[in-house]
């Protein structure tokens, strides 16, 4: 009887071990980089799009060792991943990252975003403002707000200078 209990316990522990080894995480932040070592100053291995599925190899601190779907192993900052997949819409619809929908939707959004500073308010909003008789100054000021873009590079510099998140000592 005691032998059987022990065997069950061993089996349970083995199963728990497997579950731990198979623990999944998903990239949930924009601009996530897979690093060679657990440090922001180490080499970049890959850029991981939002929704990418990762297998945890080693966790516990602010950096987590993971394996990406293509087999590459490296480290990501713990704040950039979560234990649940992001909403389908965020991760690019039903197809997810593998379906290519993510890239399409992100490219579409980025295009709309970069075109913004050139063309001003969207035609729909311009028409709304016309119908409402919105004074010109408000349209111009909103345009300026929309044109103020923070690039990925600028954001990285900003975080590094403030020693924030993965740039913390």
């Amino acid at each position: 009887m005691r032998k059987r209990t022990l065997a069950t316990l061993v089996l349970l522990l083995a199963l728990a071990g497997t579950a731990l080894a198979q623990e999944k995480r998903w990239v949930s932040s924009d601009g996530t980089t897979l690093k060679k070592e657990a440090s922001i100053s180490s080499e970049d291995l890959a850029q991981l799009p939002v929704g990418s599925e990762l297998t945890v190899l080693e966790a516990g601190g602010r950096w987590v060792k993971v394996q990406a779907a293509d087999g590459r192993q490296g480290w990501v900052y713990a704040g950039r991943i979560s234990d649940a997949a992001p909403a389908a819409e965020v991760a690019g619809g039903e197809g997810g990252v593998l379906g290519g929908t993510l890239q399409e939707s992100q490219i579409a959004t980025a295009k709309a975003d970069s075109a913004r500073s050139i063309r001003g308010l969207s035609p729909e909003v311009a028409q709304y403002a016309k119908q409402r008789g919105t004074p010109e100054v408000y349209k111009k000021e909103l345009d300026k707000v929309l044109a103020r873009k923070v690039s990925a590079k600028e954001l990285k510099t900003f975080l590094r200078e403030g020693k924030i998140g993965e740039y913390a000592p």
Partner: protein
């Protein structure tokens, strides 16, 4: 499909919020099974919200947001004429937005010349904070938290969910410039009116505010900012409450500060290393120099 069901249930639980906590989760599930129950009818409403929010494409969501932003500027004031300050607020805002539940849309932030303690977000990702509220803030972590709260509303599409009965949202919720001149345009204008009333006067549902507060803690923490910034800002507002303008402010459009602080403090246990994260007071002091704001 499983995701859809989970989302529906999550939305329902948000709607039921406080009652779920008191009556118990299992009771709620039983009530849900009864087609005549109030809860089942609420769930059916929630599903409709979800489908209209889902049907809406991003350009339409953004057009709604930008139209509302035009109204907001007229009501609260124009952006402060300080390019360096506006850039800084955009950097802090984008830092937390990248770690929000919806990190892949473009966000824009602006400080408005307004003497009301207020911050608000319009659908699609344009977020405003008043100079008066910024004047209460002492470090970057606090600013990050307030902006992350607003990003939380955008990410969960709270404003649009609040006006689910709007005629514009019946059927396919999209708009083009040509349609603006017709009936669809009239419906669009009427919906913007409803949204102004929600965002500027009545405020969003309490459960949405609590959800945005939780999102602020989470995004701040994941970005590397001390999440206690949200609580310290609310505590400072609490001290100023008696002497501040109420109409159109965070005081009138948000749940009682004590209630928010209490819930946030309970959630802090999820972030045991909060105190070790960044607050960045020096850079904040250097970059935010306001003229004319009461402190």
């Amino acid at each position: 499909m499983r995701l859809k069901q989970t989302t529906c249930l999550a939305l329902f639980l948000i709607v039921c919020g406080s009652s779920a906590a008191s009556a118990g989760f299992l009771d709620q599930l039983q009530k849900l099974a009864d087609p005549e129950s109030k809860e089942r009818k609420m769930l059916s409403g929630a599903t409709q919200v979800l489908s209209s929010a889902k049907d809406m494409d991003y350009p339409t969501e953004r057009a709604i947001g930008e139209s509302l932003a035009l109204e907001g500027l007229q009501r609260f004031g124009l952006p402060v004429k300080d390019e360096a300050l506006q850039q800084y607020v955009n950097q802090v805002g984008n830092a937390v937005a990248a770690n929000s539940k919806r990190p892949t849309i473009p966000y824009r932030f602006a400080v408005l010349e307004s003497n009301v303690q207020n911050a608000f977000a319009v659908p699609g990702g344009v977020i405003f904070i008043s100079k008066e509220l910024l004047g209460v803030i002492d470090n970057e972590a606090e600013l990050a938290a307030v902006l992350a709260h607003e990003v939380g509303h955008v990410a969960s599409k709270h404003a649009i969910s609040s006006i689910r009965r709007a005629q514009f949202l019946q059927g396919v919720g999209t708009i083009s410039a040509a349609q603006m001149k017709g009936d669809k345009g009239k419906q669009f204008e009427s919906m913007i009116g409803d949204l102004q009333s929600v965002l500027f006067d009545k405020g969003l549902d309490k459960s949405m505010e609590f959800e945005a507060d939780s999102a602020a803690l989470e995004s701040s923490y994941r970005s590397g900012y001390d999440p206690r910034g949200m609580i310290t800002v609310l505590k400072k507002l609490k001290k100023l409450e008696a002497s501040s303008v109420k109409k159109g402010s965070w005081f009138s459009t948000h749940p009682a500060l004590d209630d928010r602080i209490e819930r946030l403090e309970a959630q802090l246990k999820n972030y045991p290393d909060a105190a070790s994260l960044a607050t960045v007071p020096e850079r904040f002091a250097k970059r935010v120099k306001l003229s004319g704001a009461k402190n």
